[in-house]
Assembly symmetry: C2
Homo-oligomer: 103 residues x 2
């Protein structure tokens, strides 16, 4: 669970894939463009991200479209929330984030 998520994010290539997907859903071939990664490697990374619920897939004919799965991000948020007692007084990024959520 947390195990799968943190392990998935521990690999820089997978974080790059995730980051790219965050700009918009796309299929595995499109993901590979400009990424110096073999087709099987990409497929394996996507499987790891999918298991971690960081990414979800949807078959569209011959292609498989991938997109960010909010569930994984929510799990990280929950993990992080457990330690809120230790958060620095000011975290601007989060303040913005939470302001957005509150409206």
């Amino acid at each position: 669970m947390e195990q799968d998520i943190f392990k998935a994010l521990a690999d820089p290539t997978r974080r790059a894939i995730f980051e790219k997907l965050a700009t918009g859903g796309m299929n595995a071939s499109a993901l590979r463009e400009g990424m110096a990664i073999s087709q099987p490697a990409m497929s394996q990374h996507l499987a790891v991200l999918r298991t971690a619920r960081l990414v979800r897939e949807e078959r569209q004919g011959r292609f498989v479209n991938y997109e960010v799965d909010p569930d994984g991000l929510a799990l990280i948020a929950q993990w992080l929330a457990k330690y809120r007692a230790y958060w620095p007084a000011r975290i601007d990024a989060l303040k913005d984030l939470l302001r957005d959520m509150d409206q």
Copy 2:
């Protein structure tokens, strides 16, 4: 950076150590109690957590006191904030967090 943090948290033993430290700072020996882990292993794990800025140390005589370092948590929060477009509409844990921070 993110690399160090996610790698550090990818190991279940290190997450357990971090979680224990979150209940209050303590030295390495106290951390080992009830944890079935050798002294060198604990020391190595703490070094990894320290490099990731998830934990910080303070020598106190013969002992070295460890405690949660807010910097690491802030880095995770910043990473998470980059993907706020994908957050589910409601994440209760974070709403609580917001309430805490806003008072």
